[in-house]
Structures are given as C-alpha cells and as structure tokens.
C-alpha cells in the first residue's frame, strides 16, 4: 500500500469513531422532541456544533450545521488524500454538492427569487466552492445564467436551458445535470484502484438512472409532455433509453417497472403505491450497502475511504430528517420508515 494512502485509511478508521453508533441514532429517533434530541446530540461528537448555535435551534439551522459538518469531514479526508484519489473524491462528492447547489440556484433564478433567499438554500463547500457560483447568483436573467455557464464545466447545459426557457420547465436541466455528473465521475474512475471501479461506476449510474426514471415517471399524466423525452433522456446506463418514453406513455406502470433489471425493480417498487420518498430511501440504502460491501472486501484501501464518506453522508441525511421530524412531532416509526442506516432501521 502507498504510504500516503495508508495515512488516509488510518485517518478514516480513526474518524469512523466519530460516527454515531446505531444505538445512539435509535435513541435520537426515539427522543420526545427537538429539545431532548439536542440534549442527546450535545453528548455526541456533534456537541460542539449544537453548543455553538445555542440551545433549541430550529431544524433549518441544524440542517445547515449537519451539512457543514459533512463538508468538514470530507475536507479532512480530501486534504490528505493522494492526488489521484483526491481528484476522484472531489468529483464524486464536491461535484455532487455543487450540482445540488446549481439546481437550487437555477430554481431560484427560474422563479426570480431574491439572491439572499437562494443563498440560504446553498451548502457552502468551503475552499472547494467554485468561484463562478457567486457570478451565477448575481445573474439577473436566465440568459445571463446560460452565458456564465458557458465558461464552466457545465457548458453542455446550454441546450437544456434553452428547452427550459422555451417550455417553462426545469426538469430537462435537472436530467442533464444528472448525466453531467455521471460523465464527470466516469472520467475520473481511472484514478481509483481497478478492482473498485465497476462498483463505483454502478453506484453513480444507478443513482442517475433512478433519478431520471423518477423524472420520467413524474411526467406521466401531465396533460402535454412539453419537452420531447427522447431529447432529454439521451442515455440510460442499466437499461435501454427507450424505457423513459415507455414509462411516460405506458398504461401499466407496474409492468414497465417489472421489465427493468435488478436493482431498479426493487428500488422503484414503492412508486406503484405512489411512494416516491421510499424510492429515494431505497436508492440511498442501495448505495450505502454497496459501499459497505466494498469495504467488506478491502478495509485497508480505497473502499475504506469510500465507505466512510458514504456513512458520513448517510448520517448527515438521517440527522437532518430526525431533527425535522422532531421539530414537527413526527412519530419515530415514520422517521424510521425512510431511514437508511439499516442497523437501527430494521
């Protein structure tokens, strides 16, 4: 093993101790309210975060704190990673967050939201925040936004943005962003060990496919599908791209989903009961499990880093959901239904 990789692996193993144990997570889910949740959370490595922001903060503020915590953990790993791995992780994680932010800026610009409100939805990426984001935020018209993107890695979005302007819809851009993400990750797969490439490729491709399938299913029943699906969904990784059009137009969604290969059928099954939320939970569980399986195979190489960061990401999502659930008085059973970490969810 390369010595610099050994250092990151040891750091990941050490930092794994900061992750919340399943029993702590379960206790957090079972707390009575947000006050009790914060009290319990203050006894964990998140104590500093909760203490910093004063007592009984809102779930919105907590979401930001959890996001920042994840970005900090990510940065601590990326900073010490060997160049090639660092490049991969930057693309895999930072670009994902960047795309999240981009989608939110785009939505804000689309509906002419004030800049401060759009900024409020964004996750700060620290030193990895692209400089052009500030310019994008300042863009007054969607046209300016498009021209600003032409000088960035998101330049291929231009065609979809034209569609978005023409038909007054945003989903073609979101679909294109999903493709751009996969293409970018595929481009840096050579930076990780050969043995892990196929699993990582499968994870990103499945994720993009499921997101795009959801976008397609969402167009079912819409009186007039404005943007031609074949123009938007140009590619699928685990099945034929024609499936997208079929899903929009077919009568029996169940049959169409059954026709998809594994793992899509299992992940998408809840959509038949109109539970898209469970589809997303299934997708997250699938990614989490895949990362876990990679780690089982090799706990002292890249899979250890990847699995640690996947756990961090899953933990962040769980904590955001629990905090919001506690603020709204949602029953623990319902929070657990959409939970990802299986150790306490089952």
């Amino acid at each position: 093993m390369r010595p610099e990789l050994a250092y990151v692996v040891v750091r990941c193993h050490a930092m794994r101790a900061e992750l919340l144990a399943p029993e702590v997570m379960k206790a957090l889910v079972l707390t009575k309210d947000l006050g009790e949740f914060l009290e319990l959370l203050s006894q964990t490595p998140y104590g500093e975060e909760v203490g910093e922001r004063g007592r009984l903060v809102s779930a919105t503020k907590l979401e930001k704190a959890f996001n920042q915590n994840f970005v900090r953990r990510l940065e601590r790993i990326v900073r010490v990673c060997p160049g090639d791995l660092s490049e991969f992780l930057q693309t895999y994680y930072y670009m994902r967050l960047e795309i999240h932010n981009l989608k939110r800026i785009l939505r804000g610009k689309f509906s002419k939201l004030p800049i401060d409100r759009i900024r409020d939805f964004l996750t700060s990426l620290g030193p990895y925040q692209p400089v052009f984001f500030e310019d994008l935020l300042m863009a007054e018209e969607l046209g300016d936004f498009i021209s600003l993107l032409s000088r960035t890695p998101y330049a291929p979005l231009e065609k979809s943005l034209v569609l978005c302007e023409k038909y007054d819809i945003l989903w073609p851009v979101e679909a294109r962003l999903n493709y751009l993400y996969v293409e970018a990750v595929q481009g840096v797969l050579s930076k990780i060990p050969r043995a892990d490439r196929s699993r990582v490729r499968s994870i990103v491709e499945t994720e993009a496919d499921v997101e795009n399938l959801l976008l397609a299913i969402n167009q079912r029943g819409v009186e007039k599908v404005l943007a031609p699906p074949e123009g938007v969904f140009q590619q699928a990784y685990g099945f034929s791209p024609e499936i997208f059009k079929e899903l929009i137009e077919c009568r029996d969604l169940g049959e169409a989903i059954k026709g998809l290969a594994s793992p899509y059928t299992g992940i998408l099954k809840p959509i038949l009961e109109e539970d898209a939320a469970l589809v997303r939970a299934n997708l997250r569980r699938h990614i989490y499990e895949m990362a876990g399986r990679m780690r089982e195979r090799d706990d002292f190489g890249f899979p250890c880093i990847f699995s640690y960061l996947s756990s961090c990401e899953a933990e962040r999502g769980e904590l955001v959901a629990i905090a919001w659930g506690k603020e709204q008085g949602v029953e623990p059973k319902r929070i657990l239904a959409y939970s990802v970490l299986p150790a306490y969810a089952t």
């Binding site: 919105t60 979401e63 930001k64 939505r107 819809i169 989903w171 589809v279 997303r280 319902r334 959409y338």
Partner: protein, 206 residues
C-alpha cells in the same frame, strides 16, 4: 321627552299619523320576512360550512402526511427550494355579490400555478392535492364571509324589527289613541255645548 309632546290633536294630524303607522307596520312585516329568510339562509350556511370545513381538514391532514414524507426523504431545504421553482402564483379577483341586499365578497380565481411534472415526484402529489384544496379553501372563505355578513345583517334586522315592534309602533298607537281621545272629548264637549245652547233657545221661546 314624552311621545305625546308636540302632538297636534287635529283630524288632519290623526289621518297623517294613521297613514304613517300603516306604512311602518307594512315595513315591519317586510323586515320580519327578511329576518326569517336571513335566519333560514344562515342556518343552511352553517350546516354547509361545518361539513365543508371537516372535509377540508381531513384532506389537509392527508396532504400534511405527504409533505412530512417529502421532508423526510428530500430534506427541508430541498423541499423549500423545489417549492420556489413554481413560477406562477395564485391570482384572484374579489368581486361584490349580494343576497337579500347583503353584499359579500365573491372570489374569482384568475390563474393557478401549474405543478404537474414540475416538482420532484415526492412533492408532486402533495402539491397537486394542495392546489385542489386551495380552490376549496377559497370557496370556504367566500362562504364564511357570506355567512358572517348574513349573520351581521340578521342581527341588524332583528334589532330594527324589535325597535319597530316594541318602541315605534306602540308610540304611534299611543299618539293616535291620544288624538282620538282628544277628538272624542272635543266632540262630546261640542255636543254638550250644542245641547245646552239648544235648551237655552227653547226655554227663551217658551
């Protein structure tokens, strides 16, 4: 001040007072009819309101469940961000309408936001149902405003009928009775005086 102050006990005044009284009595009858109609309208409205409110509450509870699910799956900031992507907002116009002379606001929906296929599928269903509920909420608000105004008018009409029945009409009757008594008394005096004069003339002739 007494109702009788300033009353002129003349026949002309009596005729005028009688005319006024019959006009007021007719007005009072009309007001009673209006009161009954408004009361009927209000009781029907209240029943409908109760039913509609329960239905809306039930549907809102269902939508809330979907919104909770969306928040759990998508995270609150993503839900808010998605919600802001809906460009068009509700545009309404408020026009006056009238029932039994009672004006109430009537709400006309000019344009509605279109959410089909524009939001994440997790939110899409909740948003479409919510949009449908908005229509019902607007109709309910309109109905509530109508019921409120009808109740208000009913109170006013009731007070007017009570005032007419218990104060105005009795005072007019009192005035008419006073004038009639006065005129009867004067008539009797006149008769006695005529009799006395007639007697005196007859005695003088004898």
């Amino acid at each position: 001040m007494s109702a009788l102050s300033g009353v002129r006990p003349t026949k002309g005044y009596l005729i005028e007072m009688t005319k006024r009284l019959s006009f007021i009595e007719r007005g009072c009858e009309f007001l009673k009819l209006k009161r009954d109609h408004l009361a009927k309208e209000l009781s029907v409205s209240l029943e409908v309101l109760r039913g509609r409110r329960d239905k809306i509450n039930e549907r809102l509870r269902d939508v809330y469940e979907d919104i909770v699910t969306a928040h759990l799956a998508l995270e609150p900031s993503e839900v808010k961000s998605q919600a802001t992507a809906i460009k068009k907002i509700f545009e309404i116009d408020i026009l006056p309408k009238s029932v039994m002379g009672v004006r109430y606001p009537s709400i006309k929906v000019i344009s509605k936001p279109k959410v089909e296929g524009k939001l994440d599928p997790t939110l899409s269903k909740a948003a479409s149902i919510m949009l449908g509920i908005f229509d019902d909420i607007i109709r309910l608000a309109e109905f509530e405003a109508r019921a409120e105004r009808v109740a208000d008018e009913l109170g006013k009409t009731n007070r007017k009928v009570n005032a007419l029945e218990n104060i105005v009409i009795p005072s007019y009757r009192q005035v008419i009775k006073f004038i009639q008594d006065k005129l009867d008394e004067e008539g009797l005096e006149e008769l006695v005086r005529t009799k006395l004069i007639g007697g005196a003339i007859a005695r003088r002739r004898e």
